[in-house]
C-alpha cells in the first residue's frame, strides 16, 4: 500500500503568498464602505434628532471618500474618518444648553457590529477562500 501526497504544499504556498495583497485591497474597501455607512448613519441621526436651531447641522457631517493607508517600518494601517467638518457657527454644547450631542456615539453603536463582522469575514476568507 502506498500513500502519495503531491501538489498540496505548492498550492498552500501559492495561496498564502496572495494574502498580503488581498488583505490590502479588501481592507481598504471595507474601510471605505464602512466609513461611508457610518457617516451616512450619523447624518440621518443628526437630521431626525435635530431641534429648531440645529436643523442644518447634519449637512456638516462628511466622510473620507477613500481609505488612507500608511505602510512602513514593518507594519501599516488603513484608516478612514467621518464626522462634522470644522468651522462654521458653533452648535449646542455647554452646561447651559442641555445634554450633550451624542449623534456620533449613536452612529458608532450602529456601525460597530457591522464593521466587526466585515473584518472578521474578510480575515476568514483570506485563509479559507470561498468558505
Amino acid at each position: 500500500m502506498r500513500v502519495s501526497v503531491s501538489g498540496i504544499p505548492d498550492e498552500l504556498k501559492r495561496d498564502c503568498a496572495k494574502i498580503p495583497a488581498l488583505f490590502y485591497q479588501q481592507g481598504r474597501r471595507i474601510i471605505r464602505e464602512d466609513v461611508a455607512d457610518g457617516g451616512k448613519t450619523a447624518r440621518r441621526i443628526a437630521r431626525w434628532k435635530s431641534g429648531p436651531h440645529g436643523s442644518a447641522y447634519f449637512k456638516r457631517i462628511t466622510w473620507d471618500k477613500s481609505a488612507s493607508s500608511f505602510v512602513g517600518f514593518g507594519g501599516g494601517s488603513i484608516s478612514g474618518e467621518y464626522g462634522p467638518h470644522a468651522g462654521g457657527t458653533p452648535v449646542g454644547g455647554g452646561w447651559r444648553h442641555g445634554p450633550p450631542n451624542t449623534d456620533l456615539e449613536n452612529s458608532l453603536d450602529l456601525i460597530r457590529p457591522k464593521f466587526h463582522r466585515d473584518v472578521d469575514s474578510m480575515l476568514n476568507s483570506l485563509f479559507w477562500p470561498g468558505a
Binding site: 455647554g94 452646561w95 445634554p99
Partner: protein, 136 residues
C-alpha cells in the same frame, strides 16, 4: 425600570464624592434658569440615554444598553480638571475599571468609559464632558 431609576443610582455614586449634593439635572442648577439659590463653585450635570444594542438572532436583546454623560463644571480650568477627577473616582472603583450598579435588583455591566472632551471655556465657567456606557 426607567431612566429615572438609573439616574438616581448614578447620582448617588457622584454625591458620595467631594461633589456632595452638587449633582444636578440640566436646567436645575441653583442660581440659574430661575432656580433659587446661588450658583455653586463646582458641580456636575448628569444625563442618561438608552442606546442601541445589536439584537441576537431571535430579534431581541438580553440587556438594555445605556449611555451616561456627566458634564463637570467649575470656575477655573484647574478646578474643572479636579472635579473631573472626582467624577472618575465616583464612577470607577480603580482607574480604568468602572463600577457596577444595581437598579431594581438587576446588576449592570461595569461602567465602560467611552469618550472624554477636554476641559474648555464654557461661557462664564470651564467644563469638560465624559461619557460611559453600561448595560442592565
Amino acid at each position: 425600570m426607567s431612566e429615572q431609576d438609573v439616574w438616581l443610582v448614578l447620582s448617588d455614586l457622584l454625591t458620595a464624592t467631594p461633589l456632595d449634593s452638587a449633582v444636578y439635572d440640566y436646567g436645575k442648577v441653583p442660581g440659574e434658569s430661575g432656580n433659587a439659590g446661588q450658583l455653586p463653585a463646582a458641580f456636575a450635570l448628569l444625563s442618561i440615554e438608552r442606546r442601541y444594542v445589536a439584537p441576537n438572532r431571535s430579534g431581541g436583546t438580553d440587556r438594555t444598553g445605556y449611555r451616561v454623560s456627566v458634564r463637570f463644571v467649575a470656575d477655573t480650568a484647574f478646578n474643572a480638571r479636579i472635579v473631573g477627577g472626582w467624577v472618575r473616582d465616583g464612577l470607577e472603583s480603580t482607574p480604568g475599571r468602572g463600577k457596577r450598579i444595581t437598579v431594581d435588583g438587576v446588576e449592570s455591566t461595569p461602567l465602560t468609559h467611552e469618550s472624554t472632551t477636554a476641559v474648555e471655556k464654557d461661557e462664564d465657567r470651564f467644563s469638560g464632558l465624559v461619557t460611559y456606557t453600561l448595560a442592565l
